[in-house]
Amino acid sequence: MTTLTPTPQSWLRRRRGLLAMVALLIAFPFLVSIIVDGQGLGAVIANDQGNARFLQGLAIEIFILAIYALSYDLILGVTGLLSFGHAMFFAVGAYTFGIMLKTHEMQWVAALVVVLIAAILQAFLFGVVLVRVKGIAFALVTLGLASVFWIVIQSSDLQQWAGAEIGLQGVRAPVWFLDTTNERFAFYLVTMTLMILCYVLYLRIIDSPSGKVFHAIRENEDRALMLGYNTFWFKLLVLVIASVTASLGGVLHTMHQPIVTPNIAGLGFTVTALLIILIGGVGTITGALVGAAVYRLLQFYLDRWFGAASELLIGLAYVVLVLYLPYGIVGTWRAKAAKRKEGWERLRTLLSPGERPTS
Amino acid sequence: MSLLRLEEVHTFIEQFHILEGVSIDVPEGDIVALLGRNGAGKTTTLKTILGLTPARSGSVFYDGNNITGRRSFDIAAMGIGFVPEHRAIFSDLSVEENLLIAERERGDFAAKEDFIFGLFPDLKRLIRLPGTNLSGGQQQMLAVARALVPNNRLLLIDEPSEGLAPVLIEQMMEAIRRLSSESTVLLVEQNFIVASRLAQHFVIIEEGRSIMSGAMKDLVDDDETIKRYLGAGTGGAT
């Protein structure tokens, strides 16, 4: 294989699918507005009630979940660190941003800076743990740290800031493009852009030399160490990137949801991330986006049809996935890529009788 | 009549093709030595016989039965004893428990007690000690003794002399010679001098293939073969 210097153009060409996806996502609210609601294009901009507005809300939730799951995939899927405290990464962002805006009445940029600092600090906290413990013990310590955070955040001692069991409510959007109630379409575009940015950034990170080391750490850390990489710094870097990304997801969550409940700090929310990347495919990055969409839609429709029993069905689906589809949608799709290509070729030769099969 | 026969056995560990065609014939009542360099696949051969790393193709016959694909405990219970390398005794268990756990039927150990302590008198003194407190040589003896507790017709012994002091090697060789009157032995041994003094037959494994076999007395004089396939193996003896 010859190495070409990637020019922007060639990069864009390689990402045609992504660009098409973005175009589709931008067009999506308008399409729904015209086809389903029978309203005009202006209805989207004017933030009228209807399916378009509702589905944008659902899509925003998917984008936020995707950002969150992306960061977990980097930690667990790519680098192989079994962290059970990932929900804390998300919740710290959500709560910090909310409290900074509401209680301290900060400018939103300042609040974001505080969130960034908090995110980096907590990554360092997990990093300190990494120095001492590995494997299952790391999973337990991270679970422990996150549980402490979860317990503290819903305790009555912090009622005036975090709102105890009910959660943080009454955070007002600081600028118009973060206002999900009045400017839904703008917020939709913002979350989508951020998700796509994170996704592209993650792909680049994984293709970079550091990304290769992340993979090496998952496959065989001792070998990476012997090759002269101080794996600790790489792991810390992973934690910082993931923490900042997840916190960004948390910030968006605070903007989108009327109430930030303590649930987003619990083990259940880490399991959500796990489930999403399992559905999508562990370690595939793209799988986080696919998984988030499938998970949220599945949850939404199951809840609609089965009510309380939907959670049970999701649990069953999870078990079946773990047993029978361990590589997830994207993983399995990629594994079958060769076969599929063969099938397409056969179809093409069938459809164009003039060509002879070349082999 | 051979007690154990391997035919063209191929074994994979994960995606690695470790055994690429091993055929062995172990006559009943004899000692057969498996020779070869480090990493040639000798230990994997033993584990494949026991089904610990199952063969992907080829067959293993024991006492006329095809035992390929059976579960390990099933194979072992047919009368195959295993002495793993690195003296894998149970260090949390006492010496006595290490012997008792090998019983297939209650009273196996009581029946063989005199024979075992006759081979390894030291163990009798240490019977109450936990496995962690044994020295390397004592652990090796315990590992061999453990394989003798049930009535095993075949013993698979992996590197019995590894890391032992010369005096202890002598003692171990004596023990193996005496126990071979009761069982057939398939022995993996790096130390060629030890192997040549114990075994009647040899099989050489090179890169996962059994490439040569025959009577040990023929091999002893064949310096060229020894140097070519066993290399450093000859040097380390007493």
Partner: protein, 602 residues
């Protein structure tokens, strides 16, 4: 490197001691620090305060230990950290509560369950049949797959139709029809996939294995479908949906108080005999499916009279129970609550055992070469169990009355001194402090008994020896001719049984909620991590530490802790108490990554 040089005994002993201290200096200093902290903490209290605090700590510690013990054995032996363990604890509590307060429901549920389980006594038969299935032609396999898929589709359709009827009118039904079409297409696609599989099944070892796996799952679907369909014909009076839906919490209160009269059981929709036969059939299919899921079947034991006796006994028991239901219920409700409590303990523990065995065989076993996925699947199982409990018992929290033997009041109460524990009073005064006989007496006693029992089992019996050896090197144990997988199943089942026992014990003292499992699992994991993950004594010590620490913090939370830089005493609210134990775990793991009693390297 080992050398066999012998040193004079005396010198080596002294050196050993010095080495030991040096090696374990971190461990020793942690223990010393802990002891110091406890003494300081307790010195601040009067005797009438600290004694009950310690006993309450022991009580919580005992419950935590019951969860942690199984967790520790399972993790030690199989390297599976079962995250479903807390939910088995919860299941134990709910089942125990049902047996205790609503025995009639228990009988109603036992009859079909017995019938489903009865065929499992004939395991050799199913194993032989599974082996025969393997030799069957492809067409038969394909037929079974399609049948299984059909059952799943039918189940989906029935549930969906029911769900759709409740949905908001108009809006969803259109979408509902669309979804029905989509899902139906999915099932057609699945059938096509099966057809492809059938075509590719060329009789090679791999393809037969895959075909058998699909066949087993189809059989499981068939059996499960049959069993569930027939089971709905057995009226379970407590879940009278109408009554329950009206006011769940009111319902729970009435049940707790015992003022809700048992409803008369409905008559069968179809002949009882048919239901019985369908249940037996379902059970047989499930047993067959499970035995054909095993990849390799060794020698099949001959089917002896013992198996048949067991089968006939179970079926007979089911029939007798069904016929004598009314009088049996009357008799049990006439019993003292103490007896009913012990019955609840036995049933819940047994059920926990069975559920554990089932989970290990069906879900954990196929994943031994993918450890992370084992962890994930236990997480999923825990999730399912919580939702199952919510589905069956609803969301309200229940309380459970203490059995009569621990609930006496009136004359001569509270009891005095240690003898007071046996006076039948609900409370007792020891060293000036007031204790509850059930919480601080009985629970602690059972915890201690289990500790002694399991320790004896580990140290004195052959199976214990095998477990200890297996913790270290399961492969070698297998090479000795011992079926390690069976030991795995047994240990998993035993651990689950102990957790369920913990659940029943906890119910009268802390009540029932669907969150109780998570709380205790967290406590148990903390205990395990503190004690050293694979060490059984470590789990006990850790559980004790967790219990004591929590109770001491609660105690101080009431009076307030004087922290150096605060003007007012710091009063943590009770909700933050678990955080203290977790912080302790984090600190201990950071100082001693392998815990207090764990081995440093495995």
């Amino acid at each position: 490197m080992t050398t066999d040089t012998k040193q004079p005994e005396k010198v080596s002993k002294q050196r050993q001691r010095a080495d030991w201290l040096l090696e374990n200096r971190a461990r020793v200093s942690v223990l010393a620090a802990l002891a110091f902290l406890f003494i300081v903490a307790l010195a601040g209290l009067e005797s009438k305060d600290w004694f009950p605090t310690i006993m309450q700590g022991l009580s919580v510690g005992a419950l935590t230990f019951l969860v942690a013990s199984g967790l520790s054995l399972i993790f030690g032996l199989m390297d599976v950290l079962s995250l479903a363990h807390g939910e088995i604890f919860m299941l134990g509590a709910y089942v125990g509560w049902t047996v205790y307060t609503r025995f009639d429901t228990t009988v109603d549920a036992t009859v079909p369950l017995l019938l489903v389980i009865a065929p499992f006594t004939l395991m050799p038969l199913w194993q032989r049949m599974a082996r025969w299935l393997r030799t069957l032609g492809r067409k038969w396999h394909f037929g079974i797959w399609i049948l299984g898929l059909g059952v799943v589709y039918a189940a989906w359709y029935v549930i969906f139709a029911a769900g759709d009827a409740d949905a908001i009118e108009g809006e969803v039904s259109g979408a509902g029809a669309g979804v029905t079409i989509i899902v139906s297409l999915l099932f057609v696609a699945a059938a096509y996939g099966l057809y492809r599989k059938w075509r590719s099944n060329d009789g090679s070892v791999e393809s037969v294995k895959e075909a058998m796996s699909l066949t087993s799952w189809s059989l499981l679907a068939l059996g499960g479908g049959a069993a569930i369909t027939a089971m709905t014909k057995f009226p379970l009076v407590i879940w009278d949906a109408e009554d329950f839906a009206k006011s769940p919490s009111n319902f729970a209160v009435q049940v707790d108080l015992g003022t809700l009269a048992p409803l008369p059981a409905d008559s069968f929709g179809w002949p009882a005999l048919v239901a019985f036969v369908v249940l037996l059939l379902g059970g047989s299919l499930i047993a067959l499916a499970l035995s054909s899921l095993q990849t390799a079947i060794g020698d099949v034991a001959p089917l002896t009279r013992k198996h048949w006796t067991g089968f006939v006994a179970m079926v007979g028991l089911a029939i007798v129970l069904h016929l004598t239901k009314a009088s049996l219920n009357e008799w049990v409700f006439g019993l003292s609550t103490t007896w009913r409590f012990f019955l609840a303990i036995a049933v819940a523990t047994g059920l926990g055992f069975a559920v554990g065995a089932f989970i290990e065989v069906v879900l954990i076993r196929p994943l031994y070469d993918r450890p992370i996925y084992q962890l994930m699947i236990t997480l999923g199982v825990g999730f399912i169990l919580i939702e199952l409990v919510r589905e069956v018992w609803g969301r309200p929290e229940f309380t459970m009355a203490r059995p009569a033997a621990f609930n006496g009041t009136g004359e001569g109460c509270p009891g005095q001194g240690l003898g007071g524990f046996f006076s039948g009073c609900s409370t007792v005064e020891v060293f000036g402090g007031r204790l509850r006989v059930y919480n601080e007496g009985f629970v602690v006693l059972v915890g201690a008994l289990v500790l002694i029992g399991v320790t004896l089992l580990l140290k004195k019996t052959r199976i214990g020896m095998v477990i200890r050896a297996g913790v270290q090197d399961p492969e070698m144990v297998e090479a000795l001719g011992i079926n390690v997988r069976r030991v795995f199943t047994l240990v998993f089942a035993m651990g689950s049984g102990l957790a369920a026992l913990g659940g029943v014990l906890a119910a009268p003292s802390i009540g029932l909620s669907s969150g109780m499992g998570a709380t205790f699992l967290l406590g148990a994991i903390v205990a395990l991590a503190i004690g050293g993950l694979t060490s059984f004594p470590g789990a006990a010590a850790g559980a004790l530490l967790v219990g004591l620490l929590q109770q001491i913090i609660i105690r101080f939370g009431q009076t307030g802790i004087n922290l150096p830089f605060l003007d007012e005493p710091f009063k943590p609210s009770p909700t933050v108490v678990p955080a203290a134990a977790i912080l302790l775990m984090v600190v201990i793991l950071l100082v001693l990554p392998s815990g207090l009693l764990g081995r440093s390297e495995r």
